[in-house]
Symmetry: C2
Subunit: 196 residues, 2 copies
Amino acid sequence: MKKAAATRLNILQKAFGLIYEKGYQTTSVDDILATTGVTKGAFYYHFKNKDEMGVAIINELLKPSFAGSFIRPLQANGDPVDIIYDMMYDILMKNKFMKVEYGCPAANLTLEMAPWHHDFTKALNELSDQWKKGITDIIKKGKKAGLIRPDVKPEQVAVFVMSGYWGIRNIGKLSNNKAVYLVFLQQLKTYLETLR
Amino acid sequence: MKKAAATRLNILQKAFGLIYEKGYQTTSVDDILATTGVTKGAFYYHFKNKDEMGVAIINELLKPSFAGSFIRPLQANGDPVDIIYDMMYDILMKNKFMKVEYGCPAANLTLEMAPWHHDFTKALNELSDQWKKGITDIIKKGKKAGLIRPDVKPEQVAVFVMSGYWGIRNIGKLSNNKAVYLVFLQQLKTYLETLR
DNA sequence: ACAAAAACATACTAACCGGTATGTTTTTAA
DNA sequence: TTAAAAACATACCGGTTAGTATGTTTTTGT
């Protein structure tokens, strides 16, 4: 049962790449078969339909990768302002998988699938909630440690920071120019400093 | 030549509604014919193909509507902080056309079409640039009038505010709950106040 | 009134879509 | 070793897609 698992993973990874670049609806099963070399029989042995594969991509590839880049950095000890800024800088400027012209896979899937594909939306909502909780928690911790002003509302900051991220991905995709990331990051820094 | 123009406009408006709700790729020409009552011959008399209709929607419907809601409010005289906040409040909370579950049509089209449909991207980029210029200009004006701190960078503010908007539309679409708009608006207010 | 052009209607096509039916090969467990 | 189950391969299908070919009707200018 080793080879089969490799076939499944191959499908998921290649399909993820195609969907990231072209979108879910415009990536056909035949496209996936062509770039993987897998046949239709094998594909439908591993997934009962295309949507099940899509949800598997979110849960088995997107979610773990998201946890590593978006959640784990927030669990470090230190100054919340620095940690949030560094997380954002790393995601936008250092991540090797995401390209400015293709945006963020989670954002792409959200806008393409919501509100029609409930399974997708549910899985993506979990990602969003995790990130929100991570940011909220580190702000709360910072308030207790006296690193963040007492009047700062953690949930508001989380929603505001997240909005900025999804949005700058959109702007980046539109302008196809990573320079907007830097402009955004500078003002994010300025904003975060006001929380001290 | 009056009836023909009405047919054309009918197609554009109904198609715009369908595309806003379902997405461009998943709205078929037959869908549009069904909801308009227009026949295929009429459709392809007015537009040489589906994409040409899509670009016409952006230029003839989206762009004017965008100008009214996103650009014009910024040209008023007054306090930039208030004007920007009020504009955002009106767009998010008062606009009758946009629904939280469907997001913002401009953002939807951007994420669905970029970077593959150059005609769409170009038209959408013009919208984005206009908005950016509007925000940048009013911040500059505010600096000259002493209403905005001298060290504030207008372009950074514009990009940051725009990012927040696109992003909160994404989050709203995902959560299907207008309450996140209010959370965002509160923090936007807090942020904008720091520019004084 | 009438010819020409504009506007619309109907029937069709070729390509593609997700999915299935029915095989064959490979792996696993006894 | 061998039979059963897992894994994969091939051919096909009905439905949908954007777009076209070929009409008919309506409007327009003279």
